[in-house]
Symmetry: C2
Subunit: 159 residues, 2 copies
Amino acid sequence: MAYFEDIKVGDRRELGSFTFTPELIKTFALQFDPQPFHLDEEAGRKSQFGGLAASGWHVAAVYMKLTVAALQRDMQESIARGEKPTASGPSPGFRELKWHKPVLAGDTLTFTSEVSEVRTLESRPQWGLIHAYNTGVNQRGELAFSFIAAVFKPRRPAT
Amino acid sequence: MAYFEDIKVGDRRELGSFTFTPELIKTFALQFDPQPFHLDEEAGRKSQFGGLAASGWHVAAVYMKLTVAALQRDMQESIARGEKPTASGPSPGFRELKWHKPVLAGDTLTFTSEVSEVRTLESRPQWGLIHAYNTGVNQRGELAFSFIAAVFKPRRPAT
């Protein structure tokens, strides 16, 4: 896993893909967003979405799932190379989350993260702040989901 | 449920409260955010959170859960008064989501929504756009979570 100093604007990585099955859409919706168009095919078809649609918060949670899996792969590769893995810092929040297109049952989204800003912090010399533009694109190449995430990354210790 | 015309800046409602138990925190984390400080008490204590901490996306999903329950209560009350309930429109997205404080096992968040902006849309005469400042405050009165939501509400039909 990278230190802040290893990360630059434009760095881009594919986080992975995920297929929103009817079962997964309904399971999430029952717990957190039980609106008819997230629970029932017929209600979805009659809604503005035109089909059984994933909750927008389900799409966001799946982004997180794939991000954590990517971070864990990084950490394992780093250990395999004999490096000491660095911890990723907390996220203070995000900006401009947009659900551009409905995510319907059977859709597969591919999530990508691109670094859009890097800066050091006077107030926290051990950390740098990264902004990344994260997207979810469906199997037709349409942008369905995006937001700008902020996350702290550790600075490389002086040697 | 209200038409766009019934909603004004400053309208405020409490959506409800939710206690983040260790079991619920871990169940969400296993599915969507399996980082050690969301899965294990000891790892949480050693982390910057200082305890087993809910995933930020879990906090957001619980906000949605309480919002949907509040909308459903509105709809039932509206039907009980003999009114025709109005459908709520889709949300195009969110701005400025912030996780101000960790949400630790045992914390109870109370979520509130306050209308911050209302406007009509030239492009969609049947809908108005509402912005609301949504917050989650813990049992010590500390702001833990906030964001600005945008949501479409139907205009009252001409009679």
